[in-house]
Symmetry: C2
Subunit: 276 residues, 2 copies
Amino acid sequence: MDAMGIDVQVLSHTAAGLAQIPAAEAVALARAINDQLAETVRNHPDRFVGFATLPTLDPEAAARELERAVTVLGFKGAMIYGQTNNSFLDDSAFRPMLETAATLEVPLYVHPAPPARAVQDAYYAGFDPAVSASFATFGWGWHLDTGIHALRMILGGVFDRYPSLQLLLGHWGEMIPFYLARFAEALTPVARQLQRPVADYFLQQMYVTPSGMFTLPPFLLTMQVLGAERILYSADYPFQDGGQARAFLERAPISPADKEKIAHSNAEKLLKLSLL
Amino acid sequence: MDAMGIDVQVLSHTAAGLAQIPAAEAVALARAINDQLAETVRNHPDRFVGFATLPTLDPEAAARELERAVTVLGFKGAMIYGQTNNSFLDDSAFRPMLETAATLEVPLYVHPAPPARAVQDAYYAGFDPAVSASFATFGWGWHLDTGIHALRMILGGVFDRYPSLQLLLGHWGEMIPFYLARFAEALTPVARQLQRPVADYFLQQMYVTPSGMFTLPPFLLTMQVLGAERILYSADYPFQDGGQARAFLERAPISPADKEKIAHSNAEKLLKLSLL
């Protein structure tokens, strides 16, 4: 990660399948995946850092693997792939894992995954299979799914329980910044068990990344709603062209100081990186 | 509708229940609702215009009622409330109604309604009932639902079939402007049966209104993505304070010419209003 944020990369495996295989297998597989990733990082310590893959089907084991990944392997956080057994992370079953992340002060990146079958049937079915598949996932639906995931964590009191927990959301915050004021106006008066107004949890305990969405309007809106302190740059390489990503930020109509935050200094703080 | 858009009001009934009662009753009730609304408009012709309520359970009858409402009662469009029998307007059953709207050149306003039970269970359940209810409707979920409604109409070829059809969406476009570039990038390559790139349908056959969402970031993003020509002002009175609505537009950091378009001239053209 240099001044424009593309020299150190955060590596993770998109091991969405780990929530679909037997828990015991998932635990062993997550260890193997993390060990392999750690080797890559060790071979290129000036180039890569790692995010852990966790066997979320067994939250106690996931907590232990997160601790191992951070304390033994030197990982900087973990990547979560959507729902596990049709549950989001507001489910009390996941508390051991969330507590470990909060205690170790490592962020969780909530990556999109295909929505539940019932949602796919209700919202995205009925078109050519390629159209429905894209509409349900990276074209639309899994972004809604991930935004709801984060909002459920707010409403479920996760961030009151773990005030040091930090969440990372891709794709400029998975719809949330555009409607944060609406959500806050509607939910703050009824979510009486929460300690803070609902928008505060988004502003204080989440970071967002572009994930390869390089058009100006969502970036500028996110800057207005969330501010440069809460944006971490990301290129979604190899799905997007890293050069395009760099050019987008270099040309963005924001101050040099904000570019520095977005390109590297926010990440250095959040991930506790020591860069030259 | 004066220079700031608040002297002529579009009236409609939020008759969401019409999709939940027997079709024959809905047909009679829609006629009665529209007749009553027409009387109000007739009594204050310099103040109100009407949008029709339609019995969407019987799309042929809905088409006839739309024609009557426009040609006999002088209505300027119709208001649709979410799904009918778990179907969105891309369902071929609704073609008679859409064809009539296209032929008469009157817009359809797709108003949010509570999402299908399966979606509510998958996404919004599990909190205090007041929290789940708000989260599923005006706090978050029905906006997603309405955005998906409009996108399904694009992907289903509705706007190729009826190129003169215009849709109205509230709440700054029900999430679509924030992610339009993403949707276009993902769906245009696979939606091969469509005649235009998918974003074009949004830019050419939809208008958006604020519906009482008066914060600058979503407004500015919508201006950047859609432009002043496609925004119709709306205050969501009596749910929101009309005076606040007026002040928001008066103080908005856009040109006087764009304010005029948004405040009244776009509406005059789309709804064929003759204002003094």
